[in-house]
Symmetry: C2
């Protein structure tokens, strides 16, 4: 019961994000160092104890490992703790959890979780596919795209819905991205016809069912809740943090459309936060694919199996709906720079819960939820935030 | 002051290791799952809460990311938390620190740190070099070998010592490996003449100044100290855990022969553990290169600058000496399967502190120390263990 223990409570007191771009001209380490410094400035500190970095693809795309210390050094923070953490496509959330650990354990007073990804650096599809089993999935041609396409087809077959049943997820994301200055697609207008005419990538997945390849970085600064007011007038508390896993390969699962790890980690995070899903005012969902947004809404219990797409179609997921999702554009339209994604989402939840979300504001938002999916939903992290 | 807080104390209650081999015939995930199960059997548990996996090179050598969940699933542990953590060549120690975080924070009751590396899978040298700065070091030809060779040359020039000054490090490691059933070189006899005649790899580094490329996996199981006796008759406590970083590139440091991160993390770990270096009964040092063992002994204060090699030459580092190092063969002769290395060392320290080290036993060992070096000593982790 971490949330109930004042000695172990953890709060966010600083955020930093740079605009998501198709191609960022600055090197990876500078992008990371920039958002670390922004988060530190936001809390008016010039020193931190630890930095936990999320990055998935630099090994291949930048020939670079050792990202944590690389960023710490580039930010001028000689001496501090720095490590790298990963959970495939949920890597940003893994960095957040590690920073949470560091503060909750008493080992750090001020810890930054930073995520950075520069997907423009090279061939990203084969590198991303390493989130699957190399011998029994990737070697046989599977990619994250193909596995999500299979889930989508399975869903359409089981529930008798058409591919256009998913359109409203993309529409909602693009609508919200237009007023987010950090969104990749802030200048893009998307209509139902845009989605219907978008090219099929891997049947039945269309371009508009998938999130874009892009570059980005974001960071948050964490400290003990009982000291948070020294750094911020509007700290946001991490009420619950949880990770759960499923069988690694979707083909080994009893029902691939039931996201066990998502349900399990959500349940555990709700328990730790002492809230239930009716308390959630907004949900930053892992909409890397429209089918994934749909299945996560069902796994958490916001919709019954086979009904997730209706929440979108019935406009329940908009900023004024009962369960707003992707409030700043989501993975689909803010962009999904893998290792940075969950940290962008955390920054956005902080803005929402502190009434600073501008035209993207969800009214009276008190409790926000974040879910992050690694691979084909074999790893799912859930975080609950509150003020 | 973590060590003094009974609620936050963390102890090791299970260990698991498999023999280090030049080429292991089993897949990476099986090697990882095997040692996880060995550590669980050692503590008589059939379920854990979390698994933190250390691996540095599978991205390139096995086309595999997402190692934490891959191993958890292979071990049959559906549902548990699983993440991957890295710090270049100190990756195994990063996994240990994360498991420590998980238990100390109250988030996990039973957490495994597992390390696995299968360097036989392909071209390891370019993958290892990604621990350095891609743009300003690796792209110009630098490797971990070349940077350590530079440090060695610098040391020889400054202190006027000959390359053979370092021979006793290798001799000690090989002597201790002969009675370690898990050591790569358990059957090898090495003499001073062997070292003198070993080929030069990168001048002045000879083959015998470097640790071998190999495959291996090891794991430890952690729980709260106040519950440790439920799982083990001989728990070992983590008295201090610390990470520190230096400027990323050795060329940016005021003095490359002064290992700032090693000194800083050792100092911090001593403080947390409430011990000093005279209390250390054995030191599992990061002897990836003989020069690194020498510089670490100096950084921690076991020798003055320029005198580290004398500790070895004067036989102070043997099992009966005042500061035994590499007691089961070290990186040099047990082997250095990168992500697994610090977990092998932790298993060995546990055996020493519980009087189960057999012919490698250091008499009356009460306090053990572990140091792990990432890259060219830009990240150093120090752990102190006690009974």
């Amino acid at each position: 019961m971490v949330a109930g223990d004042p000695l172990r409570g953890v709060s966010i007191v600083g955020i930093g994000q740079i605009p998501v771009e198709k191609v960022c001209s600055r090197p990876l380490k500078s992008m990371g160092a920039d958002v670390v410094k922004l988060a530190m400035e936001d809390a008016s500190v010039d020193r931190i104890d630890a930095l936990f970095a999320g990055n998935m693809l630099a090994d291949e795309l930048q020939n670079q490992k050792h990202i944590g210390t690389l960023i710490a050094s580039a930010a001028g923070l000689r001496g501090i703790e720095a490590l790298q953490v990963r959970a495939a496509t949920a890597t940003g959330a893994a960095a957040l959890r590690m920073a949470y650990f560091a503060v909750a354990s008493g080992e750090s007073r001020l810890a930054v979780a930073v995520g950075v990804e520069k997907m423009s650096g090279g061939l990203h599809t084969p590198a991303l596919a390493k989130a699957l089993d190399a011998k029994t999935e990737t070697a046989l041609g599977a990619t994250l795209l193909s596995q999500n396409a299979r889930l989508m087809q399975m869903y359409m077959d089981r529930y008798g819905v058409d591919v256009n049943a998913f359109n409203a997820f993309s529409l909602n994301a693009h609508r919200n991205a237009r007023t987010n200055p950090n969104a990749l697609f802030k200048d893009k207008r998307v209509f139902d016809s845009t989605i219907r005419s978008s090219p099929v990538i891997t049947p039945p997945l269309r371009l508009h069912d998938a999130s874009p390849v892009c570059d980005g970085a974001a960071a948050v600064l964490l400290t003990r809740s009982n000291e948070a007011r020294a750094y911020s007038d509007h700290p946001v508390r991490i009420l619950g943090s949880s990770v759960a896993t499923d069988w690694f390969r979707i083909d080994d699962r009893p029902d691939p459309l039931t996201l066990y790890a998502a349900a399990h980690s959500a349940h555990d995070a709700f328990r730790k936060a002492n809230v239930n899903r009716n308390d959630i005012d907004l949900f930053e969902v892992h909409d890397a694919f429209s089918i994934m947004a749909c299945l996560l809404l069902e796994a958490v219990g916001f919709a019954s199996p086979g009904e997730g797409w209706r929440l979108a179609a019935d406009k329940k997921i908009g900023l004024r709906g009962p369960i707003p999702i992707a409030t700043f554009g989501g993975l689909k339209a803010r962009g999904h720079p893998i290792g940075a994604t969950a940290l962008y989402q955390t920054c956005e939840i902080v803005l929402q819960l502190t009434g600073r979300a501008g035209r993207n504001q969800v009214k009276n938002a008190q409790v926000g939820m974040l879910q992050s999916v690694g691979g084909a939903a074999s790893t799912v992290l859930t975080h609950i935030f509150g003020v």
